[in-house]
Symmetry: C2
Subunit: 90 residues, 2 copies
Amino acid sequence: MRLTNARDLGLFVRERRRRLGMTQTELSGLAGVSRRWLSDLEAGKPTAEIGLVFRVVHALALTLEARPAEAEPGAIDLDDLLRDLRTSRG
Amino acid sequence: MRLTNARDLGLFVRERRRRLGMTQTELSGLAGVSRRWLSDLEAGKPTAEIGLVFRVVHALALTLEARPAEAEPGAIDLDDLLRDLRTSRG
DNA sequence: CGTGCATGTGCACGTACGCGCACAGAGGCT
DNA sequence: AGCCTCTGTGCGCGTACGTGCACATGCACG
């Protein structure tokens, strides 16, 4: 699942939690966060602290991966493009 | 790159930023965050808000992906295992 | 050596976090 | 109908956030 914002994250966490058959109370205890906060997170709260988010992610046996955005079909390497932009007129 | 905690995230952001030839000032302006905060983020601050993190991630042309943790070589499906645990003694 | 840029960091401010508690609404089960 | 579980949410508290500013260090260049 691709996460682009807090709402995505919240929905994904909720779905994952349900898939594992957990309640908010159980997951919050497992992750060491309050149920109150978890409820807000699942609702897409954008001000949630990433440290707590990582705790929840681990408790859900999830892996978080970051990678450069997909190259367009035009086959231009975005990394090089941006870097060139910077080094040429920066 | 696999991100497991705030420190990972910070280091990854820093490396990615440098790879694109950006300074903290440039990236912070592009992402709409303060340079102060970006500096802290790259240092691994665990209390950073995920909303701002997503802004930086986008500004770096990055994709964030979440997925179930890898299954052990023992071939037990962790999802099923956890779900069964819950439904049988919950 | 002096200048300029990149980065880290202390400070003060206004704001909102995350927490626990308590209650309300919605289902499900008997 | 009555009961129990799950979830959302208002409130109040103590705390730390994120921001902007200013300064210091480190490094490259002429």
